[in-house]
Symmetry: C2
Subunit: 138 residues, 2 copies
């Protein structure tokens, strides 16, 4: 593990793998294709990350967004760095549908929930590995 | 104006100026230092922007975040591209305080509101111009 994961992120996610030193998580809510990147840093603000880490993180956000668009039927991608509840720096990338449980609202704070099967998670991890290539280790 | 602003963004914001071809807005809610960058594009997804426009936008997000941190007393910066209600691509950069009206929740969808005076907006625009330099025209 590149960084110690905050207990709340650990509890709320499936750890998909390590993505060029950053952690890639799938949130435990099958209602949305909801991924989180946790950069390998103790810094808590995006704008205070060293430039090379910003660039890496932004590129990964773009790649995961493209993955979501290719893999799921979505109408919009939501991207956000919030961190009001979990101070550890993390970026959400979420595929949204006009018929999903929270549309057009945001997903943060929702209590609407559906669990993934372990098979679901394995399939997503497999497709991610095929898409992201050598920079992703699961 | 580099782009036609979506009527909802136009109604909900003070237009601060043009920031290297992108629009910089201040949301009409004095409860939060809440800025929005509207890139000069008709593309609606961040990950489908041409690379040079992505880079410009990310750099501007970093600069506006630093401006908020320097100018306001905030505990966290929230950054997000959502676009579920307003399809025009736009990025929120919001300074948050642990004693603000929505903490620790997100600000999108809140009905809590306070108006800026025109003087408040002028002061913010003045400080922005001083910080951002020649790339910002108000």
């Amino acid at each position: 593990m590149p960084v110690d994961l905050h207990p709340r992120l650990e509890q709320d996610s499936h750890q998909l793998g390590v993505y060029n030193d950053n952690l890639l998580l799938l949130m435990r809510n099958a209602l949305f294709p909801w991924f989180v990147i946790v950069p390998d840093t103790r810094e808590v603000e995006l704008h205070r990350l060293p430039g090379h880490q910003q660039t890496r993180l932004f590129n990964q956000v773009i790649q995961v967004s493209s993955f979501i668009e290719a893999q799921f039927q979505v109408d919009k991608i939501n991207v956000a760095s919030i961190g009001n509840l979990v101070p550890q720096l993390h970026v959400h990338i979420i595929g949204r549908r006009q018929d999903d449980a929270c549309w057009p609202g945001v997903v943060w704070g929702t209590d609407k929930f559906d669990a993934y099967s372990l098979d679901d998670v394995a399939v997503i991890r497999h497709h991610l590995a095929a898409t992201l290539g050598e920079t992703f280790r699961n």
